[in-house]
Symmetry: C2
Subunit: 333 residues, 2 copies
DNA sequence: GCGCAGTCTGATAGCGCTCACAGGTGGGGG
DNA sequence: CCCCCACCTGTGAGCGCTATCAGACTGCGC
């Protein structure tokens, strides 16, 4: 920077002003500085800038497993949106759900002087940590159930589950089971709640949900169990597509036709959902939108002086996509 | 830090020494400093540290689409390995494959004073950029075909494709088609090469590969085309699982039994591969290992003074996983 | 002619850390 | 007895930027 200043015949401060689009720099001077920068191949050192400003223009993302479909998609769009807003992205994953792991992740991010934090870990444990975040650090949770004061961006899980279950009800199904996600995941619970609401609203008996861990394998296991335990079931709402696909396979192996004898609805609308056998009826989540809205929220809070958040969660709607894994009920053979 | 020093009754330098595990600090002094840090809730400012050391202990990852299965998995394990090595991860994606986009991504990372870079963009265009990286910046490419001087970590794509194709050959298939990935992807080309080698080695006629874009949709389209154009084909090697799944669906819709009439082999071994219909025979890639090895390479190069890389690429073996989408050839009905 | 606001620029002082150096101890060998 | 070396600690400078203040130079109105 000193070199640039010297070559342009100005002070380092003027160079800094040019860099920061400060008004009150003569057009001619600006041009001279720009030229000098180009000539020397100058690149501003953001570390020094961050130190001086005590702000890094970087957002930290705390995630649990970034290889899962939802988090991966959100992270991807988050980075794009951040880039658009002139922010960098720093990723940290937590090895487990313990509060220490979270605290350590936050510490690492704070040590980096991040300007804001996105918590992409939709487990209950994560929520508790949010309240423990430094009060002056803008944060946003990608999940429901964020404590008051912490802004959040969420896909409407309950409504999605409602739509999915209602769809089954409208097709005439009365014996509808649910395969839920892990107990400590907020989204798993929200989807269960939506299912439960739709069931009781329709006056149907609510079975105890089977529990999976989001994986196709656990969906398969659930399918096997379902077939044994409740052969009368004709409709299943599965909490995500990967489990749904495993369940479909288990039923198919047992000779059950889908959607002829059992209708299955998933959740996520993974890219390949339309090309499974049968094409999966599922609930679409707009993760790209989630990423964008997170950055919006963060940028707004970074800019504002009010550290305490008063607003409502940002809710991104979910949408049922009807494909071929669901059909009107028929007496089961 | 000054506060900690004062409270502990030492100089700021001693505090720094404690922080950096410097030898030659009396045990008692160390304890006193540690105590003071705990009492004040002190957190070292890594930005300042990075500025002073001109090293940030951060690795930058340049990716194209982090929501794709391979990159997402690699990124995830990369972060874990980096954490283990005391490094942070900074993610940058490139919106397109143009050299400007890459140059900008590199610039952003350099401006952050990253200690090393992982290029997770397996396109040809990325390779060209690698040579343009600052010479003193350790870098590693996750792809084949990296230019000499640039270390790389790769899953053995050619061998995986060889295994897959040989498997079909051994099952008695002679009419074997290939659905490849996009032209500008190095991995797509490597898999095609492996297929081609196995075909010529077996003395079989090599058809022009169909081209997909990794998506299930493009696999479906390829399946439709394949069925029309080459009804005599009984074996297909598809360059990734998502396309394979789309192709399976297209053939199934056309009334083709898999694996009865056509055998299909994929590539990637996505988590749900074993639960598709039929369970997909595919080539497993150990992305976790790739991530770990990348960090290994980077750490080694960051530590060493030799900027110019002489070694060979790190090759992570791939492994054929035989499931139920392949079967011995039968005359096609 | 004077003042004053508006425009432009430079000097100086940090941001919170590490590095290089200069000490100050104490003990063992010459 | 002295010197040297291993141990331990403190002092100063500086990483490359931004913030703050103080100045200098215009043009305008009274």
């Amino acid at each position: 920077m000193a070199d640039v200043a010297q070559l342009a015949g100005v002070s380092h401060q003027t160079v800094s002003r040019v860099l920061n689009d400060h008004p009150y720099v003569k057009e001619e001077t600006r041009a001279r500085v720009l030229e000098a920068m180009a000539e020397l191949g100058y690149r501003r050192n953001l570390t020094a800038r961050a130190l001086a400003r005590r702000q890094s223009d970087t957002i930290g993302v705390i995630a649990f497993d970034t290889s899962l479909y939802g988090p991966a998609s959100t992270l991807f769009s988050l980075e794009q949106a951040a880039r658009g807003a002139g922010l960098e992205v720093h990723v940290v994953t937590v090895p487990d759900m313990g509060p220490e792991a979270f605290a350590e992740a936050v510490d690492r991010l704070v040590a980096q002087s991040v300007s804001g934090v996105v918590v992409l870990a939709p487990q209950r444990a994560a929520v508790q940590v949010m309240v423990g975040l430094p009060a002056d650090l803008p944060a946003v949770a990608v999940e429901g159930g964020a404590p008051p004061g912490v802004p959040s961006v969420v896909v409407d899980q309950v409504d999605g589950a409602l739509q999915a279950t209602r769809h089954l009800v409208e097709l005439g199904h009365t014996e509808i089971a649910h395969v839920r996600g892990p107990q400590d995941w907020i989204e798993a619970e929200a989807r269960r709640v939506g299912w439960h609401q739709a069931m009781t609203a329709a006056g149907l008996t609510v079975r105890e949900p089977l529990v999976g861990d989001w994986s196709a394998r656990s969906g398969y296991d659930a399918g096997v169990l379902l077939h044994e335990r409740w052969p009368e079931v004709t409709g299943v709402f599965v909490a995500n597509d990967h489990m749904a696909l495993g369940l479909v396979r288990a039923l198919a192996e047992a000779g059950v036709d889908i959607p002829g004898q059992v209708s299955v609805v998933g959740f996520d609308d993974i890219a390949e959902a339309g090309y499974l056998r049968p094409p999966l009826t599922t609930v679409h989540q707009d993760f790209a939108e989630v990423g964008r809205r997170c950055v919006d929220v963060l940028v707004e809070r970074i800019g504002s002086a009010e550290r305490w958040f008063q607003g409502q969660p940002v809710v991104v709607p979910s949408r049922l996509v009807v494909r071929a894994s669901t059909a009107p009920v028929t007496r089961r053979g």
